[in-house]
């Protein structure tokens, strides 16, 4: 940043504009409540309403020559961005993405050309900075037409790195983005932090069904046991946590297949171990063998939405094959299990 570019008079204008608009200063340090908030939304608690006010924010002591970084108003995004700006003096232009992260918001056209153009006007950005340059997160590009932004506002758009922790290096490199910075990854930790939401959602959907089934235990010939509940819990864990974690190591490409494979393996193993095919009710065992892997398969298929490398065409193709099989196997399996549960005998 060239100090000489910023004349004193211009900085006075900045101070005036900042005071007039009440531009808040934000810290680059996260507090305990930010960390707790992040843990909560990662577990799916209040995730849809974790927002900051859209508008302009100041990091450090920015002046009319300072960088303008654009982002969305999901607080998790906002926090990750600001903690990576230690020591920087810059402006944050936060768009109203309705509390959705930048990439998904771009997919929903919330992080968009129109919203950016509007927010530049509302914040009167052109009065605050003397340059005409915006740094946008690359993952906003699906709904940001850089040429149109430039035409409509006079601000040029530079797509910065995918990850906020590359911003400092990107700036130090003279706004050069390396190929590495451009690529979306999906490593073990990336997948790990996404699994709690999957698990919480799966458990939420499962509890009512479990409740009904355990209630029917009163008059069933073959009541469900703790072992049955554990077998179900295992496939829920397999589909929503284990498959995502082991994703690149499980053979095959389709998510539903990967989830089925692990679920079937685990179900078969435990049925063999408990002599489900020999001593126990064969109908119940066959039902479990059909239904339980279908559950983990379905849950794994749902992880396509969290993954970073699936296309709509790809997922649709996968679903057209997998979904009828999941529904078919699941229905037959459930019917066998219910039949054995209500009218059968044995363990």
């Amino acid at each position: 940043m060239s100090e000489s570019y910023c004349k004193d008079s211009c900085c006075e204008t900045v101070v005036e504009a900042v005071n007039e608009q009440n531009v808040p200063s934000v810290s680059t340090n996260l507090e305990l409540r930010d960390v707790m908030g992040a843990i909560k939304v990662r577990c799916g608690i209040g995730r849809m309403n974790y927002k900051v006010e859209p508008g302009l924010y100041a990091v450090g002591k920015p002046n009319c020559d300072s960088l303008v970084l654009v982002s969305g108003n999901y607080k998790l995004t906002f926090d990750i961005l600001r903690k990576n700006l230690v020591g920087m003096n810059c402006w944050l232009l936060i768009l109203d993405t309705q509390g959705v992260n930048v990439w998904c918001a771009a997919g929903k056209k919330l992080f968009s050309t129109d919203e950016l153009v509007n927010r530049i006007e509302i914040t009167q950005l052109s009065k605050i900075v003397s340059h005409r340059k915006l740094i946008l997160p690359q993952l906003g590009a699906p709904a940001i037409d850089a040429f149109q932004v430039s035409r409509r506002t006079g601000f040029s758009v530079t797509f910065g790195p995918v990850r906020a922790n590359d911003i400092q290096l990107f700036v130090a490199n003279g706004f050069e983005v390396t190929k590495e910075m451009r690529l979306v990854k999906f490593n073990f930790v990336d997948r790990l932090v996404l699994t709690p939401v999957e698990l919480v959602n799966a458990v939420k959907k499962s509890l009512p069904i479990m409740g009904v089934l355990l209630a029917t235990n009163q008059f069933a010939k073959r009541p469900f046991t703790k072992r049955d509940v554990a077998a179900y819990a295992r496939v829920v864990l397999t589909g929503s946590v284990l498959t995502p974690l082991l994703l690149p190591y499980i053979p095959g490409k389709a998510f539903a297949w990967k989830g089925w494979l692990l679920g079937a393996g685990w179900t078969a193993f435990s049925l063999c171990k408990n002599k489900g095919f020999t001593k126990g009710s064969k109908v119940m065992s066959a039902g479990q063998m059909l239904l339980l892997p279908a559950v983990s398969s379905y849950l794994a298929m749902n992880f396509t939405g969290s993954s970073t490398y699936t296309s709509a065409s790809g997922v649709e193709k996968e679903m057209r094959i997998a979904l009828p099989l999941i529904i078919g196997a699941g229905s037959v399996g459930a019917a066998l299990m219910l039949g054995s549960h209500l009218f059968g005998k044995g363990k």
Binding site: M48, V100, N101, C104, A106, G107, K108, Q138, L139, A141, P142, A143, I144, D145, A146, F147, F159, V162, V177, K179, R182, L183, V184, K185, F186, N187, L247, P248, K253, A254, F255, M301, N302, T304, G305, S306, S307, T308, Y309, T310, S311, A312, S313, G314, V315, E316, K317, E318, M319, L323
Partner: protein, 94 residues
């Protein structure tokens, strides 16, 4: 690169297409693509890794020559199911 190469979904499904005659070789698509689909050839872009495309639509939107076309969408099963049920465009709750 090894980590991203390990993740592969289905092949030959993307709706991405390039009209090479219209390409002006500006490289905007290469800049916005999060999966390294494009490489710069001799004055024109090349679809170097088409199967990595996730149909986010960033390249087509930012192509000044309208040389790229793709049907953008979300690669998300629950969004697609919701779209089928409500007979609308797929949209997730994320």
């Amino acid at each position: 690169m090894i980590a991203s190469a390990r993740h592969r979904h289905l092949k030959n499904v993307t709706t991405l297409s390039l009209d090479i005659d219209k390409c002006v070789g500006c490289g905007a698509c290469q800049v916005v693509c999060p999966h390294g689909v494009f490489e710069m050839g001799e004055g024109k872009i090349v679809l170097a890794d088409k199967d990595a495309c996730i149909e986010c639509g960033a390249c087509a939107l930012n192509c000044p020559a309208k040389a790229l076309a793709v049907k953008p969408g979300v690669g998300c099963a629950s969004a697609i199911i919701k779209g089928w049920i409500t007979k609308s465009e797929p949209s997730c709750d994320c």
